[in-house]
């Protein structure tokens, strides 16, 4: 659905989404990288379980909640990607101890 703009010369960064290697660009937010990945990155909401994707991309709507390096409920749109980052799509409420 999303395509990267031509001529984006930023350095490549590798992150892992549900264990699968995904190439992102330095400076991407986690949410931008997930949307550009082409994978099904829809989370399930905490109460009704509705499927959601990142929406506002500026820290307001909380629809980008995601587990990053073992920490749940992070706002993916506010966290820059880093090499080797482990991303898990959050299904429902934040888990105990994560």
């Amino acid at each position: 659905m999303f395509k990267r703009a031509n001529g984006d010369a930023r350095r490549s960064v590798t992150i892992h989404v549900e264990g699968k290697a995904v190439t992102a660009r330095e400076g991407d937010s986690v949410s931008a990288a997930l949307l550009a990945s082409g994978l099904d990155v829809r989370r399930a909401t905490a109460v009704s379980g509705a499927k959601r994707l990142p929406y506002c991309m500026m820290g307001v709507c909380f629809d980008c909640l995601v587990t990053i390096d073992g920490v749940g409920n992070r706002q993916g749109c506010l966290v820059p990607v880093a090499d080797g980052m482990q991303i898990e799509i959050q299904k429902g409420k934040r888990e105990i101890g994560r």
Partner: protein, 379 residues
């Protein structure tokens, strides 16, 4: 002169709306006079426990009234659900008061013994459990938990949804809800009451004062008294997490939707627009010592609210001897006692007389001439 209403209920919070719903259910023509959205309203600030344990030290009748309320709650929840479609998420599988360290455990043990030794109090089977037994029921407690008291009647509910259900329900029953009408004066002429509000006058054959701490000002207008001693409380709320707490605590509960509420402070400060952050810090610290994994959760909001609190902590239900048809009702536990208000108090108001066997102990006569009564119905 025609009477507009059979009953005017002053106050549209949890207590007033419960009584009004109950009266509407009994076919009465009722008006609820309420303040506005920004009023100090415990109905939107409370901790939502349906709580029995440790209530009534110093007044055995209060334990009976509380147990009665706890037992009637399932009927209330079922009826409101049937009528409004709202699930109030009532859970009554027992609750805990946890202690940290040996001193707290010993102090709680002494309190439980004092409750048991009260003559005339309903036995509600509150017992002390050592940490090992608590851990079987609450597996995620931390190493500092020394134990706690457990009462099988305790529970909790979604209190915001309860408040909404009473309002939705009473509207369906034909009750007129009239917001933005604080009552400034009440007179009794002939057989009717005239209530002066900021938006004109309203007449009713009977009046029920259910205006929380404002009852102290309103009650003398109809020959009653309601000495109040409000306190402030603060609550801290975390983001949603998977269910981990199968029983509510006095200080921590997990809502049906997953948020964790932490609270129990008691302050003399009565401004509900500010917070005392050191108090929040202590509450949050105690919570994470009880359940270490809570330390990882983000706090998403916190608030302060003013408790409706009769001066000695126990409820007040009274009827006027000089102004026939005037009643006053105030209590701290508007959630726990909601079924009593909806069923019992509404029935008594309709019949025009309180039932002494149920509520005589709660008359404000107990305060006598002195206004500085002390003690508390809430530990």
């Amino acid at each position: 002169m025609t009477k507009d209403y059979e009953v005017a209920v002053v106050g549209g919070g949890l207590l007033g709306s419960a009584i009004a719903w109950g009266l509407g259910r009994l076919g009465q023509r009722v008006a609820v006079l309420d303040e506005g959205d920004i009023t100090k309203r415990a109905s939107r600030a409370n901790f939502a426990l349906v709580w029995v344990q440790s209530k009534g030290l110093g007044m055995p009748a209060y334990t009976g009234w509380t147990v009665r309320g706890s037992k009637a709650w399932p009927t209330l929840a079922a009826e409101l659900r049937e009528q409004t479609g709202l699930d109030l998420a009532l859970q009554q599988n027992g609750g805990f008061h946890l202690t940290l360290g040996e001193d707290e455990y010993e102090a709680r043990t002494n309190l439980v013994a004092r409750m048991h030794n009260q003559t005339g109090a309903t036995d509600y089977k509150m017992e002390m459990l050592p940490a090992a037994d608590v851990k079987k029921m609450l597996p995620l407690i931390g190493p500092e938990v020394s134990g706690g008291s457990f009462c099988p009647f305790d529970g909790h509910v979604n209190s915001l949804r309860t408040f909404r259900a009473f309002h939705t329900g009473m509207k369906q029953l034909g009750v007129d809800y009239l917001p933005e009408r604080p009552v400034t004066a009440i007179s009794h002429e002939g057989n009717e009451f005239r209530l002066t509000t900021t938006q004109g006058e309203l007449r009713a054959a009977k009046v029920v004062l259910a205006a929380g701490n404002a009852n102290q000002t309103l009650a003398p207008m109809v020959g009653l008294s309601a000495p109040m001693g409000p306190t402030r409380g603060q609550i801290v709320v975390t983001e949603r997490t998977v269910p981990f707490l199968p029983h509510p605590l006095t200080t921590i509960r997990q809502t049906d939707e997953g948020t964790v509420m932490i609270g129990d402070s008691k302050e003399d400060e009565l401004d509900d627009r500010v917070q005392n952050h050191p108090i929040n810090a202590v509450m949050a610290d105690r919570a994470q010592r009880m359940f270490p994994h809570l330390g990882r959760l983000n706090v998403i909001r916190s608030w302060s609210g003013i408790r409706v609190m009769p001066q000695d902590g126990f409820p007040i239900y009274d009827q006027s001897e000089t102004h026939s048809g005037a009643f006053v009702a105030c209590c701290h536990s508007g959630v726990t006692l909601a079924a009593n208000h909806a069923f019992d108090v509404a029935r008594m108001v309709k019949q025009g007389a309180l039932e002494p066997e149920l509520v005589d102990a709660f008359s404000a006569r107990r305060f006598g001439a002195e206004s500085g009564a002390s003690g508390s119905g809430y530990y």
